[in-house]
Every structure is written in C-alpha cells, then in structure tokens.
Amino acid sequence: MPHLDSLLRTARALTANDHDARDLVQAACLKALESFGRFRPGSNFKAWMMRIMRNAWIDRVRHRKIVGTELSVDETLLPSAAEPSPGTGGEAGTSDFSTMLEQFSDQQVISTLMELPEMHRMALFLSDVEGLSQEEVAEVLGVAVGTVKSRVSRARAMLREKLEDYAREMGFLERRSCRT
C-alpha cells in the first residue's frame, strides 16, 4: 500500500511507541478518507497524508490534556543553529563521525532522535528520512519555509551532539576526537 510504511514511520516519530503509532496511522487513514475532497490535485499526496496525521496527533494530545511543549517553546530562546554549541563545530573528522554512527543500533538512533523537541524532531524527520522538500515540510508542520530550515539545522546539531555524548559514554568515541 503506497505510503503506509512512511505513515507508520512518521507516526513512530510523533508518538515514540509502536502501539500509539499504529493507532495513529489508522486514525489518519480514516480522517484522510473523510476529508478527501480537500486534497488539492497536483500536490504531494504523501505530504497531505502526513499533515492529516500530524493534526490527528495534535487533536489526540489535546484530548488527553497533555499539550506538548512544542506549542509553547519560543524558538528565539533556543541557540541559533548558525552558532554551534561549544564542541559541536564539526571538529570530528567525517570518517570518525560516520564510523561512530555505525556503532549505534537502529533503535538507539531512533531513541536519540525522540529526545529532541517535537518541532525540531519532525522537521528533521520529514526532511531527512521522508525526503520531503522544505516547502512540503513547511506545509505539513504549518510553519514558514525559513522556520523549517532553522529547525532542521538546529535539530541536526542537537542530534549530532547527543549522539556524540552517547558515543563517548559508551566508548565509541574518544573525548579528544570531538571536544578539542
């Protein structure tokens, strides 16, 4: 079935667990069928489905009265992606970094991504994993293209920093290779 794998992956990225993810895929498919008349011909069907899924997730979170912090976090309070955090300025060589990434299991990579705030996580996920264009990510997330760019960049920096921290803790990465 087209996009079902993508929908499940996106649901996992939103919900962080398999049960909720499957439930969300089902709910999103129902909502998509209900509102099919609003699909714009020529637009990206996958992106449209993902937007529906994200809205369904927001509805569900609101319903549970546990509105996520992603709605209240002011991006201006976060460090700018253009100003890397200390020690994350790309000091590690690319081959070191690639080798380090291969040391992590798939689940560890996904779990680390899940530690990022939703607004950053989803921007990076939709862009890097699902391969949506910045315009499509902007449409799915309901934000400006410029915001997508900054979120993706910031998310990538945060993820890299977290993975490097874990790599050091687990002995995959020597301290000196990254924190020079």
Binding site: M1, P2, L4, D5, L7, L8, R9, R12, A13, R22, D23, V25, Q26, A27, C29, L30, L33, E34, F36, G37, F39, R40, P41, G42, F45, R60, H63, S80, A81, A82, G89, G90, A92, G93, T94, F97, S98, L101, E102, F104, D106, Q107, V109, I110, L113, L124, F125, D128, V129, S133, Q134, K149, S150, V152, S153, R154, R156, L159, R160
Partner: protein
C-alpha cells in the same frame, strides 16, 4: 574567511549536485556538509527497519472498506473513476446514482481518481488476504462505517418514527433490526445502509450527551468479528469489546443478528446503551 551559514549548508544539502565553491577550499564547512549527509543516511537506514506489517494493512483496508464502500460514498467516488472502480462495482450493482454525482465527477475528478486508485489498491490487498485474516479487520470496518456516518457525504434517512424506519430497512436490507429506545438524552439522527464485508447492513446514528454513536446491525456471528475481549454489563450480559483508532466497539448477538455500538466514548456507557437496545429500555 567567512564560513557558510547554517542556512547555506541546508541549501547545499537540498540542492545536492550544486556545491558552493567555498566548499572546495574550506575543510570545516565541507566536514559539516559531509557529517550532515552521514547523519541523514544513518537516520534513513534506522527508520528503514520500520515497515507496516499485514496486521496494519488489514486494519487500514478495513477502514477503507467501511468508509468508502458505503452506499453513498461508493456511488459518488466510483462514478468519477469508472476504470479504477470496476472491481468494486460488481459488489454494489444496486447503488443508485444521484444527479449531483455527475457534477461532483466533473469538478473534482482528479481528486476522486486518486481516491479510486486508493480503493483499487485496497481491493488488491483484499485479494491477497485470506479469509481468517479478514476477521481481524472487522473492527476497522465497523469504525469506518461509523466515521462515514459522521461525514457530510452520508445521506441519512431522517424519519424518527419506528414504523417508517422499519419499512426503510425492510426495503433496503430485507430485514428490520431492533429499534433503539430513545429519550433520556438520546435521539435518532437518522439511519442508513452501509456495507460490511461487502454485504449490506443497517446502521442507526444516534445523538447522545456523550457524543454521536452508531448502532450497526450485521448478519455475521459476533465471534466472527474477532473483537478481542469480552466484558459483562450491569445487566449481566456478556459483550464483545474492541477498538479501532479512537473508536470503541461493543457487540452482542440478538434475534439472529449482531448489534455493534461504535463511538468515541467509554465502553461501560456503550454497554448500557446496548442493554437498553436489547431490553427495549430507555437509554441513560
């Protein structure tokens, strides 16, 4: 030498082939781009292990069947894309086409063609599934019928008089399901026919102070729905309970039919509604 900004690095990643000249001379920026590409590749491979299994495909298929293969929407959607709809129409020969269908087809044909493609895919998946597996999709199909009942596309027969409703179902289905007892915060929004496992079924849509619920009456045995668990009501009845997406489902057999209550509310209250339906008492 000024380095590339984060935005320029993002643009480089997006553009792919076109690399700024700065990267040829700046090791630091080149490393940033390469690390971002490595991270992207690792993320893709990590998520690549997540794939939809047959169980999920079946449940989504059930939802599509329940929602799309309903009397009103199937006629509307299939009329717009006859080629893709052909396999499904064989199961729904008697569906009347209303005049507005044709303008619908003209104005939104591209959208509906895409939907019809989705339906055709669903049919293909359906052929791949064996009948024991199809039982798992029952809750999805029931939830799909309920969701379709809530949509503006669904035309409901709005008579609230039990005799008129009975005549409607007799004509449409060949049988008359038990009529829900109304009052005490519950009223009939309407009734309609839908399709469950490609067979016509009757459906009451009820407004209540707990939200809208559907009572779907099917000919199948309740065990065949494979809803998952059983629960006892205050009246001592044993109900089969399931869920799909955010919809709860409570089902029980009576008079040779299986009555299924579907709604986004709590199971205990739905069992009370079912008790009322089956004992002809007022709903609470």
């Amino acid at each position: 030498m000024s380095h590339l900004t984060a935005e320029e690095i993002e643009q480089t990643l997006t553009d792919g082939a076109s690399q700024p000249e700065h990267l040829l001379h700046c090791t630091q920026c080149r490393q940033k781009v390469e690390q971002a590409q490595a991270l992207r590749g690792r993320l893709r491979s990590a998520f690549g292990s997540i794939r939809a299994d047959d169980g999920l495909k079946q449940s989504v298929l059930g939802a599509i069947r329940g929602t799309v293969f309903s009397p009103n929407t199937v006629a509307e959607n299939m009329a717009a894309a006859p080629a893709a709809a052909k396999p499904a129409t064989a199961n729904h020969r008697k569906q009347p086409l209303r005049p507005r269908i044709y303008s619908f087809a003209r104005t939104t044909a591209p959208r509906v063609a895409a939907l019809a493609a989705l339906v055709a895919i669903a049919i293909l998946i359906g052929f791949q599934l064996s009948s024991p597996q199809a039982a798992v999709a029952a809750s999805a199909e029931l939830a799909g019928i309920h969701q379709a009942n809530l949509s503006s596309h669904r035309t409901l027969h709005e008579a609230a008089d039990p005799a008129t409703v009975a005549a409607f179902f007799k004509k449409e289905l060949g049988f008359t399901p038990a009529f829900p007892e109304l009052g005490a915060g519950m009223d009939l929004r309407g009734c309609c026919t839908a399709y469950f496992r490609n067979r016509p079924v009757g459906s009451y849509v009820l407004n209540s102070d707990r939200g809208v619920i559907s009572v779907i009456v099917v000919r199948e045995k309740v065990q065949s729905l494979a809803l998952g668990s059983t629960a006892g009501s205050a009246e001592g009845r044993s109900y089969h309970v399931g869920s799909f997406a955010s919809n709860a489902i409570v089902a029980a057999e009576a008079g040779g039919f299986t009555y299924c209550v579907v709604g986004e509310t709590d199971v205990a209250w739905m069992m009370e509604v079912m008790d009322c339906l089956l004992t002809n008492k007022s709903a609470g």
